[in-house]
Structure formats: C-alpha cells, structure tokens
Symmetry: C2
Subunit: 457 residues, 2 copies
C-alpha cells in the first residue's frame, strides 16, 4: 500500500490540469508593482492569495498593509509544536508588460502552447508560488501535511522590496520558522536542478573629492590646482593591483577560503570563460589571479566603480577645471566579511593616500552581509534529496554573485536560513515579452516540493 | 609749439565727456550674443559701429554676414602704402545680464557714479573699443593719423567666436596689416599697466573606454569583467607622475624653456601662492615641481581632466557595471608644442597601456597652437613705451594660461602678431551684475592708444 508521500505525488499527477487552471487565475491578475495604475490590482491579488491560504487551512491568513504594497501572511498549524516549521517566501507582484506589441498573446491570458504557458509572472514567480500551494494541497489530501507552514508573500520584489526589511523586523512572531523555502532562484536547465547556497553581500559608497570652491577655467588655473577628477582617478586606480586584487588594507582578512571539493562542484556548473564572454560581450575576461570567472563572481569579494561624474560631460568641449569629482563604489562581500567594517577599511585607504590639496567625503548607501548556508544543512539536504528523487540526478549547488534581499533580511533579523531554489529556467524570458513557464519542469517542481515536506519532517 | 602727438593727447582731455557719451550710446544697445531675442540688437549694434567707422573716414566700412553674428570691417587709409597698418580687433557683443535683480542700475543705462560707469559691456569690451575710436579721432583732428588702420569687430566673442576663424580665412585681404591691437586682455591694477605676450594653446580630447556590450549587474558579473571606469581611471591616473609632470612620452620635447630674466619679470606680477589660493579656494596648491604657480599656468604645458562620466550618477545606489566610461581631457600648450602632434603622443600613451579587456576611442575637439610674441617686438615696444609715458611706470609683461581665439587665428592664418592689452581691471565684474568701467583708467587708456599710434609710425 502506498504511503502518504507516494499518494501525494500521485495526487499531483491527477491534479496537474487543475493546478494549471489555478495558476492561470493568479496570472490573470495584473499585479504590476511598478505602475501606479495597477495599485488596485495589487490589492486584489493580495486578497486572492489570502483566500487561497485560508482554503489551505491558514485560518489566520491576512493582508498586512505596509508603506507600499501589502504583505500576505498566514500559518498552517498542521504538525504540532515539535515539528519543523517552514516559511514559504514568494512575491506576487510582476514586472510591467511593455513593450506590449512584442507579446504574441495577451500577457494576462495564460495561453498554453505545447509545453509552455505564456504570461507575465508565469515563471517569475506566480508559477513557483502555485507549485508550493499545489504540494501543500497534495499532502493535506493524502494523510496531512507533515510539517507546519507559514507564508511571507510580498508585493514589492520587482521594485526592490523597499518595505520588506521593516516588515520582517516588526513581524518576527508571524514569521518564526526553522527555515525558509525561496523558490525565486531558478535552475540552470530542465535537466539540471540546482540549489544556491551562497549570495554575496553588498557595501555601496559614494566618494566625493572637492578641490576649488567653484569650477575654474582650465586655461587660467590648470597646472596650479590639483584637479579633483585626477585625485579621484588616482584613488580609484590604486584600489586594484596588477593581479586584479583589491588593495584596501585588510580587504581579504575575513574571507572564507574555497576548498578543492567546492571548486570542483562549482566547475560542474559548466559556466566557463566562453559562457562569460558570450553573456557580456567583452573582448577578454579579467579578474583576480588564481580563480575562474565563476569563482570570482560567486566566491570572491570584489570592488567595482558603479559610476563616475565630474565637470563637463556634454557634447564637444568646455575647458573647465572641475570643483568636484564623484564616484559610486561598491563591494561584493563573501563570508565572513562584515559590510560595516568595509567602510572603515575604505576610509583608512583614502586617508592614507589622499593629498592635502583636496577635501573628501564618503557616504554609504547599502550594507548587506553575505548569505551562506552549508550545502550539508538539514534543509539543503532535504531539498537536494527531493530534487534527486524527481529528476534522477543530484542537484548542482551553486553560488551567486548578486544578492536576494529577503534572504539577507531573514538571515540578519531572524537568523533563518533559506533554501534558494526554484523551477524557472534561463530561457523563460522573465522581465521580457512572452514570459513563459516550462510546464513539465514546473510539474516536476510541484512533486519535488512535496518530497521536500516529507524529507524535512 | 606742441607737436601733433601732444595736441592729440590734449584733445582727448577736452573730449573726455564727449567720449563717455559716445560710449553710453554704444552701451545702450543690448547686443547680447547668447540670447536669440537680441538678434535684432546685434544687427543694430553692427550698423551703429559701421557708421562710426565711416565717420572716422573708413569709406569702405561694411557689415559682413557670417553663419552667426555679423562682422564689421573697414579701412582708414591715412598714411600711405609705406606706413604701418594696424588692425584693431574688438567684439561688440556682450554677456547676458542675468540675474537682473542683482544690478543696482539698469544694465544698459550707463549710469555714472563716482569714478565708475556701470553697464553690461562697459569694461568687456565696448569701453575698450571706444578708447581706440577716441584716440583715432584725436589724431585725425590734430594733424592726421600717422598710420593706417583697419578694423575687425566681431559679434560672437562671448559665445566662443564660432565663425571668426572662417571669416579671417576668407577675408585675408580686408584684414592684412602689420600687427593687431587687441585691447580685450585687461590690466592688473589701475597703477599697473600690462601687456600679455604669451597665451597657451589648446588640444582637447574625448576618450571613451568600452567594456561589456551593455551595462551589467555588478553582482552577477563583478570580478569577471574589467570595469571600463576602472580602466579609464588607470589610464588617467598614469598621465601624471608624483612630481606633477605629465608622463606622456615626448610631452615636453618641444617646450621652450623659461630664462632667469623672464622668470624675474613674471615674479614682478605679484601673483604669488596666496593670490592663487584666494582665487581658487583650494586647501593647498599643486603642480609641476620647480615652478611657481604663475609659471605653471602661464609658461608650462599642462594636462587636465575636464569631465568624467560613467555608469550610474544619480542619487543613491544602483549596482551597475558600466558598459562605457568617458573622459574629457585637454592639454594647454606652450611654444613650440604642436597641438596636432599631441594627439599622437596621447594615442601612443594609451596604446602602450590599455589592456586587451576593453576597446577605446579618442576624438579631438580643439587644436589651437600657443601664441607668443617677443617682448622686444616693434609693436610690443611701441605699446610699452605708450603705457610708460601715460602711467609713469613701465608695463608688466605677462603670460596667460588661457587662449584668445582671435590671436591664435591671426597668427595661424595671417602670420600677424597681436598686442594683447587693455584697460579693464580685475574688479570690473565682467560677466557679472554691476559690470563697471573705471573711468580714470579708461581715460588714461585713450591717451596711451594715441601714443601707440605715434610710436608705431
């Protein structure tokens, strides 16, 4: 006689079309967070989700207002105090559909063609949310959920989650769980499931160098005054050595090393130099000596100039000796670097090098720590086993160079690890016309999530 | 019995008030070249000047159209073929008057208060033009002009003389003369007349460094791609050494040295470090070792960053790895540097240093050679003697760091030297509200110009 797990998975097989219809209902709601005319649609979508959570037994499900778009939370107390509690993260907002004329079907109709369902948000990430809801229903209908589940469904991810950190800070009790499932991180190819176990942190700065009291005539004063743009270039140029390493004293002090086993696991991703050349269009790659491009972007800290501005930047010529020069500078951080300490490292570098001919000012705009979870953590192992059960191959563990703000906030504020995964594919055209969901992959995903519940319990 | 010269100078004494009234008539014409609504005023001013030249005997005086504002030319054939011919340069256009509410009198009324006449253009340079016309009249009324005089009066100096070079190129016959008197260069103080004998040349470039095909996410690609802003900073930073010298190979090869006598003459100007600190508001001066600030700006070539632009430059943070970075770079040149050769020196520097990870492009926007006339040239001696006769002290010979386009064009196209002088003062508020003319200095100036005519003959 099949056990609950097997029955739940079978149930998902028979519910496939029903789950697709539920997804199409969700996709028909144009919850575009970037456009004010969709504010009403955002609210309708949040209440639609609240009803779904109530239907799944989250009797406390509610729509929580924020300074921006509302957050939907709820709890399914299914397995008692002693059981594992999982927080499911999702965002119900979507990108705008422009340019509309490039869509081959109505972006909110959820047209199905072959193996694909076409709609804005199909892959990013309404499809991922429905995959989790489908797995919950399947377990409930077949002996009951083996774990407790909570929800954190926001409506501002596509505009940078400006109110999420504050919401998490002030609603810790609503969200308390053993770990978070975040299915917004995608996979590499239909046959290559993956789990992301490391995200880089971010420290972002603006450096201003001030010289003369006002812009000067470069003919009259050029040669007697230290040009602040030149001083800025000297400072920025000195921040890397010829081996591509950052020269700020102590920059690498706290960096966790990369072991041989981990390096070989990363190499399995197949993201080689050719991949990076193709993605970026540069004539040649560059970076810290001794590391592959993938290691440089995923496992090594870096420092970038994000912007430069000084003097005259229009068409033609103007002979100005600028009063000021500005650079935006950011660092991507890896375990165990602290974004707050990075500020003083940068300050000490500048203090040691800046000449007396100028004054300077440093402002910090972001300070997010890196996110890292051991590949062998309970939740990563539980999800990896689920993926291997469904796909027949072990997932690839990857590191990513960017950051996922919610993972940072949950880690920082609640000490909660996240399983960063999902069933979106690189060719899903997210944020572009004709966004689509590969239904066979998504359907496998619903089963993997169900297995995860049982593996976690 | 007084000779012609003495009688002419006495005549100027008695004509003082009449000349001021003529100047006020000129100043009442709002010939603002930067504002299209004053286009009619520009034309009226040009025709007003033409009438003045005809009244002084330039029967061929005419208004010449250009692609922009017209040029007024004319010839007074007073002294025959064998005599010296002087070209008088002037510009009849003026700066805008904004902000109008900071003016204490109508900027076109020519209000007189104490020793000053207040009006837009009073010092820059309608007053200077009237000083020359007054001296011509004085000579004509007292035995006749001892030289021939031609005029080149443009209406676009305040917008950079965009059509003047072409005009001079195509009207050489109209302008042919032994030397040019350009009274747009001012003096240092009411008791310190001066002649400028050297102007720096200009070579102006835009350098673009291109990296990836489009702006990238600095988290995803930072560390694997050479940031073009970083490459640009490396290139720019390397253009100076720690002694403040330009490192471009061969940059100083053709530079004419500065002798001890000339250095001590320049030192007499009294423009010391304190002067430059006060003028610029920098915490400390900077520049090429072994030279004073005045020598650095007047007699040494320099290289400046005039502008920088790359990536994100708005408020806050955006984690972009820019596709491109741009710098505006200019060189101020001294005898005997060639602005065209400077381009290849810059190109060779870049070629030797630029990495294979980027591509680059260099455009040139200006290439003006330096202007230099010996302090002992016939015309400089003639004007110096005139100044000493009127002021009782020898003038100071100075070098200037900027350029005066017309002096460059006359030198380049017609081989004509210019006497760069004038009776405007640093405290005249040119280009600012309440521009004024110091009438006692200006009146002395009318006499000095008359003496110059006789000294030159």
């Amino acid at each position: 006689m099949p056990d609950n797990r097997e029955r739940a998975v079978d149930f998902l097989e028979t519910r496939r079309d029903g789950n697709i219809e539920l997804l199409r209902e969700f996709l028909a709601l144009p919850s575009v967070s970037t456009e004010t005319e969709h504010r009403g649609d955002i609210d309708r979508t949040a209440y639609w989700l609240k009803e779904r959570l109530i239907a799944l037994g989250a009797s406390d499900a509610a729509v929580y207002p924020t300074a921006g778009m509302p957050v939907v939370c709820g709890t399914i107390e299914a397995a008692g105090n002693k059981s594992v509690t999982l927080l499911v993260y999702g965002h119900y907002d979507v990108q705008p559909v422009d340019p509309l004329d490039l869509w081959e079907s109505d972006p909110f109709s959820g047209k199905i063609s072959g193996d694909h369902l076409f709609a804005r948000g199909a892959s990013d990430m309404k499809g991922q949310i429905i995959a989790v809801l489908a797995a919950i229903e399947a377990a409930q209908q077949n002996g009951g959920l083996p774990i407790n589940i909570r929800f954190l469904l926001e409506g501002e991810e596509e505009i940078g989650s400006p109110n999420l950190k504050e919401f998490i800070r002030t609603h810790g009790d609503l969200l308390r769980a053993d770990c978070c499932l975040n299915p917004d991180a995608g996979m590499i190819a239909p046959d290559r499931p993956s789990i992301c176990y490391a995200l880089r942190g971010l420290a972002y700065f603006e450096l201003r160098v001030q010289g003369p009291a006002m812009d000067l005539h470069s003919g009259i004063f050029g040669g007697a005054v230290h040009n602040p743009a030149q001083v800025l270039c000297d400072l920025l140029s000195g921040m890397h050595d010829t081996a591509g390493r950052v020269t700020l004293p102590g920059f690498y002090d706290d960096v966790a090393g990369l072991g041989a086993e981990e390096r070989s696991e990363l190499a399995r991703l197949g993201m080689d130099d050719r991949y990076f050349l193709q993605q970026t269009g540069v004539p040649a790659l560059w970076g810290e000596e001794g590391y592959t491009a993938l290691e440089r972007t995923g496992a090594r800290p870096t420092l970038e100039i994000n912007g430069l501005l000084s003097g005259f930047t229009g068409t033609g010529s103007k002979t100005v000796l600028p009063a000021e020069a500005m650079a935006k500078i950011s660092m991507r951080l890896v375990p165990n670097q602290d974004p707050k300490e990075m500020r003083s490292k940068l300050e000490r570098y500048i203090e040691a090098r800046v000449p007396k001919t100028v004054t300077w000012q440093l402002d910090q705009f972001a300070a997010g720590p890196p996110v890292f979870s051991e590949r062998t953590s309970k939740e990563n192992r539980a999800f990896a086993k689920a993926l291997e059960t469904v796909w027949g191959v072990p997932p690839i563990f990857k590191r990513e160079g960017g950051s996922i703000p919610v993972a940072t906030y949950l880690s920082e504020l609640l000490g909660m690890p996240s399983v960063l995964t999902g069933f979106g594919l690189p060719e899903d055209h997210i944020h572009s016309p004709n966004e689509r969901l590969h239904l066979p992959t998504w359907h496998r995903g619903t089963k993997a999530v169900a297995h995860f519940f049982y593996n976690l319990s």
